[in-house]
């Protein structure tokens, strides 16, 4: 007993995997000592303000800088004409298109960047920006993607009108970007022909924005003497950013340093490379002094990193018991004015083909058509992997639609179609191999926890009572996520594979520094990675320092997005640590004069099997590794670097249930209860996981219940400030109940999967399903998001539920 107590104590000292270690990064944040982009101040720094187009589509007839240049404090005004000589008025996009850095002949979306005014301070820059006179000729705008491909639709992109192909296959119309297909159309069509039951629904994923609390911005500092460019920037992908910057500017990549610093939330918004960054960089190169550009909130919502805008059609074929026989999903994707959608080269529609979700579905086919409109470009994955929210929303909604059609309970229809535990690894009709899961167990645990039968009984009673002032809705979502991009054989961006890396250096006294290619934005990497190393090396997490985001220090990696940090970099960390452990073992064997095979690992030490008094602690080995007392021919030091190319993506899953009550007379929906069970495989820090789930659910709540970027018919933004754009406060946000099961990932060294996006991907359909479930007894099969009081009331009104 005493022995096990001693083991426990040693283990606790490490604060390794599985413990809720408090976050290392908190220390500076709770003191207001974080270093975010706008906190950076450099001598002689200029401030850049961007002049933006009030029109969604217009020809630029002229730009008059004179008044602006006369404004006190204004140093220069940059326009496309100034960038043209250095060929930086346009930049290539990851989608195989080009994007205007500053608009030259035409503006293609409202608030598009037209000029940057450089001034000695912020106020002067804004004064100058107000004085730049741009002469526009307004042109008809396309706002509705359905109208983009009409014969007589105005041609938006005159610059590429002759381009037959934007690297993703032939274009069929000047406003057409690509058509992408997956699966087997013939088989799917056949399944629908012979089906006992088919359902079809048009389902919109409206244009939204991740809206992190910190907007985008940068400080570009070019040293004329050394030709060395340092860019402090709000980016989730510092290394890829550096590579792209080298491609754009021609500056040797070795002379570019990109620093992420502290990031005030990303959620996908900080993946793309925006014109503001490029102009600020050019401005610093031109002026030879540092240039800061910080986006306003209105600019942020209007121009950088929108998400979704997928206009989908879902179709399922099934037998009369609701067992699915075929799936046909299509989407019309509104990519805005340029195809700078964030995607891997071989995946123009991202991972949309994960749309079979948690279900064993034969005969599957999906297709995405992408078009240009007069809206902002730069479609990002808003707290999800590329297009996964769109895919999972579609399948989770369609499961409910099917359940209603065949008259089967919405939990039961899922049970009938789940991939069974014994079927894993399971390869879907679209070719994804789901690594591991136990969907039935997860759902059953949730239904039991909330007394599902009881809730359905209560709902039935309410429905029977015409006097009830509220409608009760129960939403279920049993999603499967696809995260951890990704295997280089499937995933690259501009030719760079999406592997990731970790470099670990162990110091003589047992201190450790680890550097990674990822970029934390609040996920607590410094804590999580330290816990992995603590467990792997038997050294206390408190002595382990983690560094990311400075490309001069960290090894190359693809950054943090798509919940890839733990699946890819977490794995790299484990692999690097194990290299060190192997070397330490050799040293231990040498010191203890036994064969490596005679040693066994115990928490923080190697001990001789059967002779527990004979051991070497890792701490001891750290020192010895820096001496001459090493096995013959062994180099000093305990350092390692690992580059991890994942064999597969990981597939976290979960079962969510939402109960809400809708006020028939105002349309307000009040979430009564939300129960979220997540399975992300091995859990490294339960406290951080819960925090990520709270945040993801809250963002899902915002998307489902209120977020949308609305436009009028001329392409005018109608809701691009925090007055209209819905960010819930503590008052609107429901309380969350979390739970978990653990089904380790078989191909990940730690069995971990990644979690931050599951609550967003799985949460959105859960809210929608709950709202629509409240109306399902009245024959309602679908209502588009966002489920604002106004929109829900319109349904109540149409159904005459609000009669007094």
């Amino acid at each position: 007993m005493a022995e096990t107590a001693e083991l426990k104590e040693r283990e606790q000292k490490l604060q390794g995997m599985g413990t809720s270690l408090l976050r290392k990064e908190d220390a500076r944040f709770i003191r207001g000592q974080g270093t975010y982009i706008d906190d950076i101040k450099m001598p002689g720094m200029l401030f850049g303000a961007i002049v933006r187009s009030p029109y969604a589509h217009a020809r630029i007839k002229g730009i008059d800088k004179a008044k602006a240049l006369a404004c006190p404090g204004v140093v220069a005004v940059l326009t496309a004409a100034d960038l043209k000589p250095v060929k930086l008025d346009w930049m290539p996009t990851v989608g195989g298109d080009v994007q205007a850095v500053l608009a030259g002949e035409k503006v293609h979306f409202q608030y598009q960047e037209v000029a940057m005014v450089l001034a000695t301070d912020r106020a002067a820059a804004y004064d100058g920006a107000a004085l730049v006179e741009v002469d526009y000729e307004e042109l008809p705008a396309i706002v509705d993607p359905k109208k983009a491909l009409l014969k007589d639709a105005p041609v938006l992109r005159e610059d590429i009108v002759d381009k037959k192909d934007l690297t993703h296959g032939p274009r069929t119309h000047p406003n057409h970007i690509f058509t992408w297909e997956a699966g087997n159309k013939a088989a799917a069509d056949a399944a629908f022909k012979g089906a006992e039951v088919t359902v079809r629904e048009e389902i919109l994923n409206p244009r939204v924005h991740p809206c992190p609390l910190e907007t985008c911005g940068c400080v570009a500092s070019f040293n004329k003497a050394t030709g060395y460019l340092t860019l402090y920037v709000t980016t989730q992908i510092p290394h890829l950013f550096r590579t792209v910057l080298a491609m754009l500017s021609g500056i040797p990549e070795s002379k570019i340093r990109v620093v992420g610093g502290d990031i005030g939330g990303g959620f996908g918004n900080k993946v793309p490379i925006y014109p503001g960054y490029v102009v600020a960089t050019v401005a610093s190169i031109v002026t030879g002094v540092p240039v800061k550009w910080i986006e306003s909130r209105i600019d942020n919502i209007s121009t950088t990193g929108f998400a979704r805008d997928y206009h989908c059609v879902g179709e399922l074929a099934a037998d009369r018991d609701g067992r699915i026989k075929g799936l046909r999903f299509t989407a019309l994707a509104d990519h805005g004015a340029f195809n700078s959608h964030v995607s891997a080269t071989k995946l123009p529609a991202g991972l949309f083909s994960i749309c079979t979700g948690s279900y064993a579905i034969p005969n599957t086919y999906c297709r995405v058509d992408a078009v240009f409109t007069n809206k902002a470009p730069g479609g990002v994955a808003y707290r999800c992997s590329l297009r996964v929210t769109e895919a999972i929303y579609l399948i989770e909604r369609m499961m409910d639609v099917l359940a209603q059609k065949v008259g089967v309970d919405k939990a039961e229809i899922r049970r009938r179609n789940f991939v069974k535990a014994e079927q894993f690894p399971y390869t879907t009709g679209f070719g994804w191999t789901l690594d591991s899961g136990n969907y039935h167990a997860a759902l059953d645990k949730v239904l039991k926890a909330v007394d599902y039968e009881g809730l359905r009984r209560e709902q039935a009673a309410k429905r029977a009572d015409p006097k009830s002032p509220t409608l009760m809705g129960i939403g279920i979502s049993t999603f499967t996520e696809i995260v951890g991009a990704g295997p280089t054989k499937v995933c690259d961006i501009l030719g760079v594979g999406l592997f990731d890396s970790c470099e670990i250096r162990v110091h003589p006294t047992g201190g450790v520094i680890a550097r990674l290619g990822t970029m934390t934005q609040g996920q607590g990497h410094s804590t999580t990675y330290a816990q992995i190393i603590a467990t792997e090396l038997g050294l206390p997490a408190s002595d382990i320092v983690v560094e990311e985001g400075d490309t001069d220090k960290a090894p190359y990696g693809a950054g943090t997005w798509g919940s890839r940090s733990t699946p890819v970099s977490g794995a790299a960390t484990a692999v690097a640590a194990r290299k060190i452990k192997d070397k330490a073992k050799k040293i231990a064997a040498h010191l203890l004069e036994v064969a490596e095979g005679d040693l066994e690992w115990e928490i923080d030490r190697f001990k001789v099997k059967g002779n527990p008094s004979q051991f070497k602690t890792m701490k001891e080995l750290c020192l010895v590794s820096h001496t001459g007392n090493l096995p013959a021919g062994m180099e000093q030091g305990l350092n390692a670097v690992a580059y991890y190319d994942p064999p597969n993506l990981t597939f976290p899953f979960g079962a969510y249930l939402c109960v809400l009550d809708i006020d028939k007379f105002t349309g307000e929906a009040k979430v009564r209860r939300f129960y979220a069970l997540d399975d992300c495989g091995t859990r490294i820090n339960p406290m951080i996981i819960d925090g990520q789930i709270h945040g993801g659910l809250t963002e899902a709540f915002a998307v489902a219940m209120g977020q949308q970027i609305p436009f009028d018919e001329n392409g005018n933004h109608l809701g691009n400030s925090l007055m209209d754009y819905f960010l819930p406060t503590a008052v609107e946000t429901p309380a969350w109940e979390t739970d978990h099961t653990v089904t380790p990932c078989p191909h990940h060294p730690l069995g971990a999967k990644g979690v931050a996006e599951s609550p967003h991907v799985g949460g959105i359909p859960c809210f929608s399903n709950a709202v629509i479930d409240a109306f399902s007894h009245l024959g309602v099969t679908h209502m588009d998001m966002p489920h604002s009081a106004y929109r829900v009331w319109q349904k109540c009104n149409a159904l005459g539920l609000n009669k007094r």
């Binding site: 003191r31 609390l213 709270h694 400030s721 503590a730």
Partner: protein, 160 residues
């Protein structure tokens, strides 16, 4: 160069002075002239609360106060919460309850909660949610922030 006004006030207990244009907003004076970058900027329409500071016993959004209005004021920012090397109970509680993630809203959130607890030392969960409704957080879903304020309230009560 436009006319500047000399403004002096007390910032975290120390007298400070700044020469500013009438149009300068307090948040910029704090961040760019006085080196207090704890309070942040998250919007321009007075919604996000990241710029919250404590001004003469009021929680205010310093992006919607002119520095010239602050002559003679007594101001506390996140930088003034730690006393003699000891964290304020709220700072400690935000850490212990995992009440922060990216940290961007944290200074405003803690500064607001500081005033809330001065006015209502024993708040209910609803009191807290209403009390911090002027501060947006995109990461935490507020759940652990509420827990943090509750636990800080208990600690402060015990200390009294």
């Amino acid at each position: 160069m436009a006319k500047t006004h000399k403004v002096s006030f007390k910032l975290n207990g120390k007298p400070v002075e700044a020469a500013v244009e009438a149009r300068e907003l307090l948040i910029y004076t704090l961040r760019e002239r006085l080196g207090h970058t704890g309070p942040h900027i998250g919007c321009e329409t007075t919604h996000c609360g990241a710029c919250t500071v404590d001004l003469d016993g009021m929680s205010v959004k310093s992006c919607t106060v002119l520095t010239v209005q602050c002559e003679g004021a007594d101001m506390t920012t996140i930088e003034g919460m730690e006393q003699g090397g000891t964290l304020h109970a709220l700072q400690q509680a935000f850490h212990e309850e995992h009440g922060l993630q990216c940290g961007y809203c944290t200074p405003g959130m803690i500064t607001r909660a500081y005033r809330l607890l001065k006015e209502n030392p024993n708040p209910s969960e609803q009191d807290i949610r209403k009390g911090i409704a002027g501060n947006l957080c995109r990461c935490t879903g507020y759940q652990n922030i509420v827990k943090a304020v509750q636990s800080a309230a208990k600690k402060l009560a015990a200390a009294r």
